[in-house]
């Protein structure tokens, strides 16, 4: 087998050195009844050619986003990732290395993470960021748990605009830990709605901007209200490109900013792997989950980087750790930081501006279709529309016109606002795509 270097002669020599007769002698500790003599009932080994053929056949059963006029967002966004990014993250030295536990031979990863942390902190306007979480939704749940540790309180309040998956994930973790999780009713433009729910046991409020309906919210007042009651403000974003154009959570008073980083550097990948971004204020860093790269010096006084503050982590603190996370999203973070380096501030701002303009163009085009109502008052690159028919049916019908026209809200929140679809535009959409969408929608609704 091509991945296995041992030859039959090697194996024989090694068994002799170990002083056993056969490989079975090395498995003596396995209960007899659990020893399987034969092979499991699965196909035998195959060459690259055969495996590639089979997997390509599976891939061919999917419709790539890029082969359609594509307008789905709702937490994952189709952006153009420069070829340089994918080239670099495939370098053996990044791809096939481990968590940088031996810093002297992992300065590459460590410096890149240190730079990543700095970029995330700058982008969110926060003091400090960690080296990545699994994705935006688990980052959100971790933020909630962190808030309970910081405040020693037992309740989390979430807005009705929080991404439904994020809410489900966070609710699950909270409730498993006997933390109350109160989510406000679904609302296109109601982030401030959380204020009334804040009480003396509230650890944090979770608000999202742009929220699930694409609505932008100035959370400054919400943060003030939370702080007045000793609660933290957790700011969630699912489209990190928005931060190139809109006020940062730091600026608006967030204590923890978490979100999905997929938009920068990472492909859609049917939902994963993605990269959770997690940033907070300096004074909260010791309650932060996840790995942290930090600066130090070597024996000669030269600058170098190491993983640090690991007494927060499971491998040191065990059941008292700030999180159970171990393997994170290292390579996705690497992709993120490389893409962000290519953009720089000017590029990011321009990319964000393009996204916003495309979304406006799309909103105008769709609003012009009879029966379509634009629901989102302020948006970045995504908004909700109300349709005259159930959104799921409309979206399905659009498919036949080569258009993937968003996500029906009912897919994520069954039973609520069946006639609403969430629609996103990015720099990858051409004017022709937008026209095709509007035209197809007219036909479908006709």
């Amino acid at each position: 087998m091509r991945y296995l270097p041992l030859t039959p002669e090697d194996r024989a020599a090694m068994l002799a050195e170990i002083d056993v007769r056969s490989i079975d002698d090395l498995f003596v500790d396995v209960p007899k009844s659990a020893q399987r003599a034969g092979l499991v009932d699965l196909p035998l080994r195959q060459g690259e050619l055969e495996v590639e053929r089979a997997l390509k056949a599976l891939a061919a059963k999917n419709t790539p986003a890029g082969s359609t006029a594509f307008f789905i967002g709702a937490g994952a966004y189709r952006h153009h990732v420069p070829a340089t990014v994918d080239h670099l993250i495939q370098r053996s030295e990044f791809l096939t290395t481990y968590t940088p536990y031996q810093p002297e031979i992992a300065q590459g990863t460590l410096q890149a993470l240190y730079e990543f942390q700095t970029q995330v902190a700058l982008l969110t306007g926060m003091d400090v960021a960690n080296a990545s979480m699994w994705d935006g939704s688990t980052a959100c749940a971790e933020a909630a748990m962190m808030a309970t540790r910081v405040t020693k309180r037992g309740k989390i309040v979430a807005s009705g605009g929080l991404h439904p998956h994020y809410a489900e994930v966070t609710r699950l973790i909270c409730e498993s830990n006997h933390i109350a999780f109160a989510q406000r009713p679904t609302h296109v433009d109601g982030e401030a709605d959380v204020i009334g729910e804040i009480d003396a046991d509230t650890a944090a409020v979770i608000v999202q901007s742009p929220n699930f309906f694409g609505t932008l919210t100035d959370v400054t007042n919400i943060a003030a209200a939370a702080h007045a009651k000793g609660a933290l403000l957790i700011f969630v974003f699912t489209e990190c490109v928005s931060l190139g154009l809109v006020k940062s959570p730091g600026e608006m008073g967030a204590d923890i900013a978490v979100g999905e980083g997929q938009s920068i550097g990472n492909a859609l990948n049917f939902g994963g792997p993605y990269v959770g971004l997690f940033a907070t204020r300096d004074n909260l860093v010791r309650q932060m989950p996840g790995r942290l790269a930090g600066e130090t010096v070597d024996a000669e006084g030269k600058r170098g980087f190491v993983l640090t503050l690991s007494t927060r982590e499971q491998h040191i603190r065990r059941e008292k750790a700030t999180s159970n996370i171990c393997t994170n999203s290292g390579l996705c973070a690497m992709a993120w930081t490389i893409h962000m380096t290519l953009l720089g501030e000017t590029g990011l701002r321009q990319l964000a501006a393009i996204n916003h303009q495309k979304a406006i163009e799309l909103a105008d085009a769709l609003s012009g279709v009879k029966g379509v109502e634009l629901l989102t008052p302020r948006f970045f690159n995504e908004f909700a529309i109300r349709l005259p028919n159930p959104a799921a049916e409309v979206i399905e019908a659009l498919l036949k016109h080569g258009v993937m026209g968003g996500v029906p809200l009912s897919r994520l929140k069954p039973g609520v606002m069946d006639d609403v679809a969430i629609v996103a535009a990015t720099e990858t959409n051409t004017a022709a795509d937008i026209q095709a969408f509007a035209a197809a929608l007219s036909k479908v609704l006709a």
Binding site: R36, P103, I105, G301, R378
Partner: protein, 524 residues
């Protein structure tokens, strides 16, 4: 200016010549991005945005962000230079015990990047992602068949997330039985990986540590003594973190079941038995599988991974959403707790899990097949035992008498301590010899532990070279060459790093002026 100097006082007396550039031949100087990038530089060309009036509702960003950019050629160099400061499997042996650093086939990378897998959105209409759902179903079939378990939850993002999945399924089962308020204690062996107690705590259980025996296994008697009506589960790693198979695994399973609890098995070491032993035959209720260990998806410098979790009949009904079911000729993704997923404990993550890792893992499994995977386990175990056989002559192998090891060999620091050295010193000397050190100081139950996992993708010749080096270093230990070890490594881009300083005075990000390169500051 150029100068000859001997700066290595602390590091031994090695005359060194510095260079003007700060580079040394192919080892290029690597500045921080922030030290030479600029906010108005970039490595992209973007179309002009339109100019319709914005719809930001007054939320436009006014303040500068401060994100530096670089042109494309500079970006390329920045990261290529950084990359060369990393060790990698593709460079040499990476025998990190418990971490399973095996060869990462590039076929898998190619497959994961097919447009049909990489360029599909998790919320596309299901009719347009039938191939993706089929792939998940196929992978699930491989995993359940290999493990002999009836069900698998595919969405966990990593091993620890899989642990969470298993423990939440257990909690849900207890809720169904009305015992969740009663059964709140989870037994975890002292040798367990940190994620086990952390996970148990992360979903609200209390953790009770079970001691180990002299021979590196769970103390079954002690475990039984701790069982009671408040015990929800035991979390046992098998093969365990000492690299041994828990001989009494069935007894443990029977005992916990008899006591009304569940058996969570940490499957991080499943690579030692894949294709040969089925956890389903051992009484396991839940076990995560690190696709990034057993099934070769790359570790990427820390992640991403994937932790599909197989579940017993008892727990299968509580598997989280989403999951894939067959639907006539095609496949359907069940995304909500209601309806077909009625008893599901909920959702662990946005969307449907680590598709990119699924593709890679399935590509690996299909390449190996049932025969190859069994060989994987056998060669992994053979390689570890071979290393153990050679090294135990000069190192203390605390459990060498306790039966063969599985996929990893465990040594202690006894011989080092005797000479005033520590495990870390040996590790740093290994670095100079061109090897990534083994896992050190884990498991905690062995003093100065060195856990060596060669994996099946190493050749005998490579193992022999590694053992030769280890034995040669052992001789230097015997000779008491303390200074040599304490000043290692010396051939690395940076010398031994001050981790204490990093933790005491944390500098977790760059800030202009506040933390420029100390060497540079000195030079100025």
């Amino acid at each position: 200016m150029t100068q000859l100097r001997s700066t290595r006082g602390a590091a031994g007396d090695y005359a060194v010549e510095t260079t003007v550039s700060g580079s040394r031949a192919m080892l290029q100087a690597a500045w921080l991005l922030f030290e030479y990038g600029a906010t108005d530089r970039m490595g992209v060309d973007l179309a002009a945005p339109g100019n319709r009036p914005d719809r930001l509702g007054g939320l436009a960003r006014n303040e500068p962000i401060g994100l530096p950019g670089l042109s494309e050629p500079e970006t390329m160099r920045h990261y290529v230079r950084l990359s060369q400061r990393n060790y990698a499997i593709d460079l040499g042996l990476f025998p990190l015990g418990s971490c399973t650093m095996k060869h990462n086939p590039r076929l898998n990378e190619r497959m994961a990047r097919l447009d049909g897998f990489a360029d599909i959105h998790p919320l596309q209409p299901q009719s347009t992602v039938q191939g993706a759902l089929e792939l998940i179903d196929q992978l699930a079939h491989w995993l359940t068949t290999l493990t002999g378990m009836p069900a698998v939850a595919m969405s966990p993002k990593a091993g620890a997330h899989g642990e969470l999945c298993g423990m939440l399924a257990i909690r849900q089962a207890l809720i169904a039985r009305g015992e969740d308020k009663i059964r709140t204690r989870v037994l975890v062996p002292s040798a367990a990986h940190g994620t086990n107690p952390a996970t148990a705590a992360a979903c609200g259980f209390s953790v009770d540590e079970v001691p180990g025996t002299e021979d590196g296994r769970v103390d079954v008697a002690a475990l039984k003594a701790k069982l009671g009506p408040d015990v929800a589960a035991v979390m046992v790693t098998n093969p365990n973190t000492c690299g041994l198979f828990e001989r009494d695994v069935k007894e443990i399973a029977d005992a916990i079941h008899a006591a009304g609890g569940y058996f969570y098995c940490d499957g991080a070491n499943y690579n030692a038995i894949v294709g040969r032993v089925r956890p389903g035959d051992l009484g396991v209720d839940a076990m995560h599988i690190n696709l990034h260990k057993t099934f070769s998806t790359p570790h990427g410098g820390g992640g991403p991974g994937a932790g599909p979790t197989v579940l017993s009949e008892a727990l299968a009904p509580y598997a989280p959403t989403p999951f894939v079911v067959r639907d006539g000729e095609g496949f359907k993704l069940i995304e909500h707790v209601e309806g077909e997923a009625g008893e599901a404990f909920g959702r662990m993550v946005a969307f449907h899990g680590q598709m990119g890792m699924f593709t890679r893992a399935l590509s690996y499994m299909m390449s190996h097949g049932a025969d190859g995977l069994r060989q994987v386990a056998e060669d992994a175990v053979l390689n570890a035992n071979y290393v153990l056989a050679r090294l135990k002559r000069k190192f203390d192998a605390p459990f060498a008498a306790a039966g063969p090891c599985m996929h990893e060999a465990l040594l202690s620091d006894v011989t080092l301590k005797a000479k005033g050295l520590e495990t870390v010193d040996l590790a740093k000397a290994l670095i100079d010899e061109g090897y990534h050190p083994m896992t050190v100081y884990f498991p905690l139950v062995v003093h100065g532990a060195m856990l060596i996992e060669p994996t099946e993708t190493e050749s005998k010749a490579e193992l022999d070279r590694f053992c030769d080096v280890m034995l040669a270093l052992a001789e230097r230990v015997e000779a008491g060459e303390v200074d040599f070890f304490k000043t290692s490594p010396r051939f690395t881009p940076v010398r031994r790093l001050d981790e204490t300083r990093a933790a005491r005075q944390p500098v977790l990000r760059w800030r202009r002026g506040r933390n420029d390169d100390p060497a540079r500051q000195a030079a100025e």
